[in-house]
Amino acid sequence: MVILLLMVFLAGAQSPQRARETAPAPEEKQLSVYGPRVSYFLPVSERNGQDYVALLEALEPFGNVSAGVDGQKWKLHFGKLEAEFRRKASAGKVAGKKFELPAPFLLEGDRGLVPLRALPAILGRMLGTKTDYHEAARRLFLGGAGTHFTTDPRENEVILNFTAPVNPLISTEPGKLKMTFTRDPVVAGSYVLRLENPLVSSVTFAESNGRGELTLLGRLPLLAQFAPGGKTIDIVAAPRQAQSFPPSTPPSPPAGAPPEAAPATVETPPVTVPAPPTLQSLTAKPPFVVMLDAGHGGDDPGALLSETLEEKAVTLAFARRLRNELQTRGVSVVMARDADVTVPVEQRAAMADAERVAIFVSLHAAAEGRGVRVYSAMINSATPTPGGFVPWETAQAGQVLTSRALADLVKVELARHEIPTAELPAPLQPLNNVAAAAIAVEILPSGNDVGSVNAGVYQQRVAAAVAEGIAVGRPRVEAQR
């Protein structure tokens, strides 16, 4: 069996990046929609205590759809079908028939928002398909979509067999191995399986905020191995020599001190406080982590893209989508900000340098233009000085060629996804101060409507292309570190 995914260990302490990543503000609400051929997320907005979603964005992945405002009416055209709602009215028409909404229809600019609870019925009627909505978890399954699994415990392994290929995000907490399914329509109801197994004591499946999570409680450090085809995941004991992840060497005991006792049992998780850095740990190659810097935030709104849309909101939503896309590709992500807070520009670069991230991606948005622009620093390249100090003003100089190569790869992926794109250097803060491969991605509207820059489906498409470009560029960046 070929190992295709990162090894994770129950005994390993959480890296500082991950610890910080989970700390900030409450998670953005989202709805996952799974169809037979397409899966996507939609941001969920709260209005007057009710959850709402944009109807146009919900239908976009299924074909040509358009909408327009006519006085107090909002009309949507999807193929030969129409939907029509009035501002603040609780009834409308869907596919020629009257439709009752559980809460008033909202019109924000030209975006029509329907109550989330009504969406399954609307999609069912417009698409002519049956729907299965898991309301508490905000997961909507269309046309019988769903991937099921079985658990096969054996003497030295536990095999998970899925009915379709899956690509979960693997993460760990002390005593747990967790698989998070974002794009895969994995379903199992309320699933708890207790095992008399030397490796795994229980397997639990639960759903929340548009995701499914499979949690394995272990008796030993665990390793997840993917079989070719992606339909089988083999859970085995992790080899002991690999348990030093993250790569830091504990300090040597002082002379005369008693030798440390060997761990009494493997069930006792080690202390999660990271060891102080040693010369060896500082010079070791750090793990591959991407920092996403959602531009602006807090007191700094950035550009005003429309009367109601600020750049800081677009960049944060886009950063969260890009984080999901990167994580589904097995890339660790740390966010410079994960809430509407003020973070000085210099502090963002300082965080990236302190964390020794592999790639820094600054995210911005603009109203003029179409598609996406990718930038690298406007600085003369210089040969890096290994072990030497790096001047703050020109920290990027030793990395700029790698940054430009990465920007090229991201541009290629965007073009491959048929997203108009341009790539150029720019004097953008704080790229010059980052001592790692650093690029900026500026998302622009997809058409004439400036609001499209904040549309969930469009952002998702751009995020997938950018994440793919970063994944393709990873070997090159790794080679330069």
Partner: protein
């Protein structure tokens, strides 16, 4: 008596409402007047000199390019004053309406200082940065246009530092770096892309 009081109250309410409407109209007119009148206050004494041919590198928002354009202007002998006048002419293209790359009214250069013969320090008016549109490309176009125009017309100048109202500023309008020096060599790859 009650009828008289009611009528008086209604009249007063109507008067208050009418005054409110009138106030809004006055405010709107004043706003429009302020926007339509260009800021023509001189920020420096006029200079005199023989007509000289200079190259302006003009930014065009659509399609996001910088193009060279030769113009003839009267320029003094002193290099720093020449630099100021050249930038003044360049910015004049941007504050007029319509413009290929609109800058706010009042955007101008206050002074240009030459340091060691190879570095120019440019001091801009507060309006230049305060009213500048925010965006990576639009700010980059402004900076590229300024720096290239200055360095192309002042032989020996290879670095440019931009100040606003005599002070260093972090960014132009949220994106373009104004803390560091602009190096003409580092600028060239960008200008090639902006052709």
């Amino acid at each position: 008596m009650t009828r008289v009081l009611t009528a008086a109250a209604v009249l007063l309410l109507v008067a208050v409402f009418a005054m409110g409407v009138y106030l809004q109209v006055l405010r709107r007119n004043e706003r429009q007047r302020a926007q339509s009148v260009p800021d023509t206050r001189p920020i420096s004494a006029p200079v005199v000199g023989p007509p000289s041919r200079v190259t302006l590198y003009l930014a065009y928002d659509d399609p996001g390019v910088v193009r060279a354009q030769d113009v003839t202007v009267a320029l003094p002998e002193d290099p720093a004053l020449r630099g100021r006048e050249i930038l003044h002419v360049l910015l004049g293209e941007y504050v007029k309406r319509p413009s290929s790359h609109e800058l706010p009214a009042g955007a101008d250069v206050t002074d240009v200082y030459l340091v060691n013969g190879n570095m120019a320090v440019v001091d801009m008016t507060p309006a230049f940065a305060d009213g500048h549109r925010s965006g990576i490309l639009v700010e980059t176009l402004t900076v590229a246009s300024l720096v290239k125009t200055l360095t192309a017309n002042l032989p020996g100048v290879t670095k440019v530092k931009i100040l606003v109202d005599g002070k260093e500023r972090e960014t132009l309008a949220g994106h373009a770096d104004l803390e560091g020096f602009y190096d003409v060599v580092a600028l060239e790859p960008l200008l090639e892309q902006l052709q």
